[in-house]
């Protein structure tokens, strides 16, 4: 693949754009072709399979229906990619007519204004904005579901929703938020900011960059379709055999994960390659900004992790469609197989979520206390140690599954060892702020919030990693509170800090400060109240994912719900601030924070090729402070 660079205007032969297929394709054609593919698969498979499996009494739960639905959903995704022009590149490669320079430039969105946000645009800055909008949408949807869950749990008696709706809410809130959290930092900032940070003209594989976003995009309507197909009764963990017996809504979940896994593999490979192979001259490994290191370790960890989830979903799909028996005990299968495959992905995945958020805060802290990052090596060791250990701890989710009680000891050892690299992350942050005078802007506030939230999440994690304590706590609200403290308190806080920090570069305007502060305190105080209440409910013995509870638990649940509303209002304020400031905010200077990383050396709007001339790096970006 080739990247772009800046050159003086010159007379070049202009291809006639009217005749080129590339210029005619966009999101609209993608949707049209996708729908055509989906309908073709739907009716094609329907006629094919109803002829040789007899009609079963309940067509919605019959296997031929699962084939039809799953086939239609996956075909929609493929069709959309065809319609938006994702396969033009491979096709042209096949027939030996590679894309010309003019076509590559066109694909990069050169001179197309806002239209390029709706096209198969290879510019990493466009992809970054697409991811940002996508993530905010998902957070909005997932957050609304969370509010509905908390509203229902405000008092005992399940007044608000029915069990079917409630279980669907739990499952869809879970998977929506997990997907949103996985891409919340690496999607917008990893795509928009990171290539500039390392001094590259573009990503290593610009077309695959567009692919990763648009493939993910196709998963959104698929996931939404679950609502109209009876919902997801399994929670986001989709344990078998509950999932293999579930209604047609489960197909949406399966298709979503398969599509998402493809997107992640492509994005992870692209980001990793970019960082490894495209750093500018002089940017040795010990001069790479820590956010880049963290994001790279995170996506590199995702590359081997997510395929096992995809496999588990393929097997679930096969069980549901073609009557295989991977998870059916009557046919020699086992639900433990699912649990193993799921958690082999599932535990690295939480660190895929966590690491970029922490890394963003480590990028922020030195800028706002005007001190070097404390012990850059410890930070890398921390990330690498977490990533390395994370693939060895999956069965701590299965201590009480009865799967292999004799392995509880070893898994407890590996799990608790994670405290050591995690401790290094704390050391790096407190070492950085020690003796500094922190500039209390919104990004820096997020650093402090992270320290508190992740500390609570970490300590409660130590109880849960210990088998005798987990005997009591497993499957209770305590677990829910714990992982929200880590994933939301750490990763989302980090991402919001990152948003406040990089907002001026991504939009050219400053984020509204007053609204930012109001939102920050509403969210952080509400968040702590919310999950403190949930810790209480868990300690009292309330199981997770229940629609109703005994009157005994009513105080702790009410506390949680009050906190939840505060978080909800705070997030709405933040959303307002982001949208409002995008149009009407104060115009940002080139380097509002006085930071030393490369992204602050380029103007807004960032030119198509980022740099006129690639910069040459002579030191790491943390040269703050007196007495060097």
């Amino acid at each position: 693949m080739s990247t772009l660079d800046k050159a003086p205007a010159s007379a070049r032969p202009v291809p006639n754009p009217k005749r080129s297929l590339i210029t005619r394709l966009h999101m609209g054609t993608g949707v049209v072709v996708g729908v055509i593919f989906a309908l073709a698969a739907y009716y094609g498979l329907h006629s094919l399979y109803t002829t040789y499996t007899d009609k079963v009494a309940d067509p919605l739960s019959s296997h031929d229906n699962n084939i039809v639905l799953l086939g239609a959903m996956l075909s929609w995704s493929v069709g959309f990619m065809v319609g938006i022009g994702a396969f033009i590149g491979p096709w042209r490669w096949l027939i030996g007519k590679d894309l010309t320079d003019e076509e590559i430039l066109y694909l990069a969105g050169d001179g197309q204004g806002t239209k390029r946000y709706f096209k198969y645009c290879t510019d990493h800055k466009v992809v970054g904005i697409q991811y940002l909008v996508g993530v905010m949408t998902m957070l909005g949807v997932g957050g609304t579901m969370a509010m509905m869950i908390r509203t229902n749990l405000a008092r005992p008696g399940a007044h608000f929703v029915t069990p079917v709706v409630y279980n669907s809410l739990v499952g869809l809130h879970g998977i929506t938020m997990i997907i949103a959290m996985i891409i919340v930092a690496t999607g917008p900032f990893g795509n928009y900011i990171m290539p500039i940070m390392i001094g590259a003209y573009d990503m290593a594989f610009p077309r695959l960059n567009a692919l990763s976003w648009w493939v993910l995009f196709t998963a959104i309507p698929v996931l939404c379709s679950a609502w109209f197909l009876g919902g997801i009764p399994t929670g986001w963990t989709a344990y078998a055999p509950l999932s293999t017996q579930a209604g047609p809504g489960m197909n949406s979940f399966i298709a979503t994960i398969i599509i998402f896994a493809v997107s992640t593999a492509v994005a992870g490979m692209n980001i990793t390659t970019t960082v490894v192979a495209m750093r500018t001259k002089g940017m040795k490994w010990n001069r790479v900004p820590i956010f880049v290191i963290g994001a790279t370790i995170s996506v590199a960890l995702a590359i081997p992790a997510f395929p096992t989830f995809m496999l588990a979903m393929v097997q679930t799909g096969l069980d549901r469609t073609f009557n295989t028996g991977f998870f059916d005990a009557n046919m020699g299968g086992s639900g433990w197989l699912y649990a193993n495959l799921f958690w082999i992905m599932g535990h690295p995945e939480v660190y895929v979520i966590l690491i970029p958020g922490v890394a963003a805060l480590m990028e922020i802290a030195p800028v706002f206390v005007r001190k070097p990052l404390f012990s850059y090596n410890a930070a890398i060791l921390g990330f690498a140690g977490i990533a390395g250990l994370s693939v060895l701890v999956w069965a701590h989710h299965m201590y009480l599954a009865g799967w292999a009680p004799s392995l509880n000891g070893p898994f407890m050892v590996t799990t608790e060892m994670i405290s050591i690299p995690t401790g290094l992350l704390f050391l790096v942050l407190i070492g950085t702020i020690w003796r500094g005078k922190p500039w209390l802007k919104l990004p820096m506030l997020s650093v402090f919030a992270f320290i508190w939230d992740f500390l609570i999440g970490g300590i409660t994690g130590i109880y849960l990693s210990d088998v005798p304590a987990d005997n009591y706590l497993h499957g209770s609200m305590f677990v829910t509170a714990h992982f929200h403290f880590t994933l939301m308190g750490a990763a989302l806080t980090g991402a919001i800090g990152g948003l406040a920090y990089w907002y001026p570069k991504m939009t050219g305007r400053m984020l509204n400060e007053r609204a930012g502060y109001i939102s920050f305190w509403l969210v952080q105080i509400g968040f702590n109240v919310l999950f403190f209440g949930m810790f209480m409910a868990g300690a009292e013995g309330q199981p997770r994912r229940v629609i109703d509870y005994a009157a005994f638990y009513k105080n702790s649940n009410l506390v949680s719900t009050i906190g939840a509303y505060s978080v909800g209002i705070g997030m709405i304020v933040l959303l307002w601030a982001v949208i409002h400031s995008w149009n009407k905010g104060k115009v940002a200077p080139m380097n509002p924070w006085g930071a030393k990383t490369l992204e602050w050396t380029v103007p807004y709007p960032v030119p198509l090729t980022n740099f006129d001339e690639l910069p040459i790096i002579t030191s790491d970006p943390y040269g703050y402070g007196k007495g060097k």
Binding site: T3, A7, R12, D101, D110, P304, M331, L337
Partner: protein
């Protein structure tokens, strides 16, 4: 696509582009390898668990060991054939045809096996199901093999056509051949690992 753009396409050196593409493909191999690892894990896990004797229920036929290798050998041949033609455009005129044809044959064999599976069970209602965990694992691995053959044939066809129509600079061409070689070698290894797994019935 206006003429007055201030940007132009920047061509990095062939070696830089080639190395980058090779790294990308290797990372995708890691992802695919993880998928394969999961399948092998599933196979041996369910085999050793033999839940309710359901690995191979009584009277269920399984595919022979030789048929497992029948679909693995073509990929090995294809990978070797591609390797032979890698360095030389003239040799490649022949080897690219061999690679493509062998991959088509392999894909056909895989398809044929999937069309005649001996372990299907049809109940009174006419619903077809896979009898036992071996059968479930077999069809998953076969499907994955078929996908590899499909992708491999696409790439091989591309090499075949491009070798005759395009005139890439030698260096870049060589790198692209190496990138494809990485993928084909991996697919051959995956095919052999799958065959080895399926040899332990």
């Amino acid at each position: 696509m206006s003429a007055d753009t201030e940007f132009r396409v920047h061509h990095d050196s062939d070696a830089a582009v080639g190395r980058r593409e090779r790294l990308g493909v290797r990372l995708l191999i890691v992802a695919d390898g993880s998928f394969l690892f999961g399948m092998i894990f599933s196979y041996f896990y369910l085999r050793n668990l033999n839940n309710n004797g359901g690995w191979l229920p009584k009277g269920v036929h399984h595919y022979s060991i030789s048929s497992a290798w029948q679909v693995a050998i073509p990929f090995v041949i294809a990978a070797i054939s591609h390797r032979l033609g890698q360095e030389n455009k003239q040799t490649r005129n022949l080897t690219s045809i061999v690679t493509f044809v062998v991959l088509l044959v392999g894909g056909y064999l895989q398809w044929k096996q999937m069309a005649h599976m001996p372990f299907l069970l049809t109940d009174d209602g006419g619903v077809v199901s896979f009898n036992g965990a071996y059968a479930s694992n077999w069809v998953l691995m076969a499907g994955s093999g078929l996908f590899h053959y499909f992708l491999g044939s696409f790439i091989a066809l591309g090499i075949l056509i491009r070798n005759r129509t395009t005139d890439l600079p030698h260096e870049l061409d060589l790198w692209r051949q190496r990138v494809v070689q990485s993928w084909f070698t991996w697919c051959a290894i995956a095919a052999v690992l799958t065959a080895l797994t399926l040899s332990v019935i």
